[in-house]
């Protein structure tokens, strides 16, 4: 299972790629592997204000529904429009093609609370 070093990870299995005060968010390889066969993704509208820990959408596989939980606070400034029609991208390419939203962060220091790749790897190994 891959956990790229340049990303930070939440306990809810979202990843964050930071570029200045912008955060691109998706779900980890561990999360997609657990869900398997993603068939439906519900994402927010651009402009939505999120607090850290807010549910920003949902993701469904054949067997289960999971909430998508924002690891940071801020405004949604972009949404991956390809995912609703091709949700399998999340299984095939969780870290690049499978990105979900971009958030303009209110407080970029929130990222520091998230796990590094190494910490996240240890975290999922204990699950």
């Amino acid at each position: 299972m891959e956990f790229p070093e340049d990303l930070r990870y939440s306990k809810d299995h979202e990843w964050v790629r930071v570029d200045g005060d912008r955060a691109t968010i998706g779900i980890s390889d561990y999360a997609q592997d657990n869900l398997q066969d993603v068939v439906f993704i519900d994402l927010p509208e651009v402009g939505r204000q999120l607090q850290q820990g807010d549910i920003f959408g949902s993701i469904e596989s054949v067997k289960a529904v999971s909430d998508l939980i924002s690891p940071v606070s801020g405004e949604v400034i972009a949404v991956n429009e390809e995912l609703p029609d091709a949700p399998e991208i999340v299984n095939q390419d969780p870290y690049v093609g499978g990105w979900m939203i971009v958030v303009q962060m209110d407080d970029p220091s929130e990222v520091e609370e998230l796990m590094t790749a190494e910490q996240y790897r240890e975290y999922v190994e204990e699950l």
Binding site: Q36, V39, F40, E60, V62
Partner: protein, 387 residues
């Protein structure tokens, strides 16, 4: 948890295991959706050894089964099977079953004496003990028949898909299983192993179910998977395929509180004898005086629903019409073959017509859904199950 004779092979293939009715079974080997596609486009193989296998034999076997199950047992020929139900006294469904009449040459064990009244009953894993209990109780009340559970000593595989005949025929030494009619059963040597082979399944595709001694199961599985190229399929794909084909699952479309007529299974009640549950159905007006003919119509009916989005409806989601609850979801899935989500639901009879516009209220979302007939598509074997 109970394990089948090929548990280790599943693990070796990378299966994600799940608990089902006390058994540790493969849920999938990587992707439920690609396994479900493989069965409709090629051939897949399922370990279904968790299903209950009961042998019923003796001079009163027909009598016992005609009291305990609802299809025309007396009319079942040797070498044939039929879909049937066991009901409770209230007319609810205890289990749905496939009953085979074995006989000369198709005994479960070749060493045993040949008897004409010799049946194999295949039950759902979750209900096997209840079906066994009912039959044993009947037998102990004085019938000349014997009921033996063979679930542990026999293993069972389902080989399903348009290529099933080609693959099985290639490894059958003493005859052509492709010559079996739908619901026919015979004994064949597959890869040198003596198997009961029936032209049955739970996918809506053509295919076979194979029963052999549990210790021979690994070699047959490997033959079909490694040499035959059959795609290993788990319970996840099995559920997708049975929903696409409109087949009921106990605990969803059928249960002790659901009558055959509500579940669209009135056609199964061909037994003219006085079976358990018949009196209750008669009192409810479901059987006319002539009997066997449906008179009153049930207030709720099982239908298919075509949701507007790819979001998957889940069991017990409310089905609504203009904000009023008119039913609830029995099963939901995403169909890779129809590329859309699907659901089955019990709805008030007045809204059960195909084309009716309803909505499904799931956690966090309500979406429109159109009533559809079952099965959802004209799969090769889906309609022929009724024969």
């Amino acid at each position: 948890m109970r394990r089948t004779a090929i548990f280790d092979l599943h693990i070796g293939l990378g299966a994600r295991m799940t608990e089902f009715a006390g058994w540790e079974m493969p849920l999938h080997y990587g992707s439920i959706l690609s396994e479900a596609r493989a069965v409709r486009s090629g051939v897949g193989v399922f370990d279904v050894s968790h299903m209950g296998r009961l042998l019923v034999r003796g001079e009163d076997a027909v009598k016992v089964l005609a009291r305990e199950t609802v299809n025309n047992v007396a009319g079942l020929a040797v070498g044939r099977g039929h879909y049937t139900l066991m009901l409770n006294e209230a007319g609810g469904i205890v289990d749905d079953l496939v009953l085979f009449r074995l006989g000369e040459g198709v005994l479960a064990n070749e060493q045993e004496p040949t008897e004409r009244q010799n049946f194999l009953l295949v039950a759902n894993a979750v209900n096997t003990h209840r079906v066994l209990e009912r039959l044993e109780k009947h037998v102990s009340a004085g019938a000349s028949a014997e009921v033996r559970e063979q679930t542990e000593v026999l293993g069972m595989l389902a080989l399903q898909g348009p290529r099933a005949v080609e693959v099985l025929s290639a490894y059958t030494q003493d005859g052509d299983p492709g010559s079996l009619a739908r619901f026919g059963i015979g004994r064949f040597k597959v890869g040198g192993v003596s198997c009961l082979v029936s032209r049955t399944g739970y996918t809506g595709e053509d295919g076979f179910e194979l029963i052999c001694e549990a210790r021979s199961l690994p070699s047959i599985w490997n033959l079909l998977v490694r040499d035959g190229g059959a795609v290993p399929c788990g319970l996840g794909a099995r559920d997708v395929l049975r929903i696409e084909a409109g087949y009921p699952l106990y605990g969803h479309e059928i249960s002790d509180e659901i009558t055959p007529f509500e579940a669209g299974l009135g056609w199964v009640l061909k037994n003219t004898e006085e079976y358990v549950g018949k009196e209750a159905l008669r009192r409810m007006g479901f059987l006319s005086q002539a009997e066997g003919v449906q008179a009153a119509l049930p207030k709720r009916r099982l239908v298919g629903l075509l949701p507007e989005t790819r979001s998957v409806p889940r069991q017990n989601d409310a089905v609504e019409r203009e904000g009023q609850v008119v039913g609830k979801v029995a099963s939901g899935t995403f169909s890779p073959n129809l590329n859309r989500s699907l659901a089955t639901a019990f709805v008030d009879a007045e809204f059960a017509k195909p084309g009716e516009e309803l909505s499904i209220r799931s956690v966090g979302r309500t979406q429109k859904a159109r009533v559809s007939a079952l099965p959802f598509a004209d799969f090769p074997a889906a309609k022929r199950r009724k024969e």
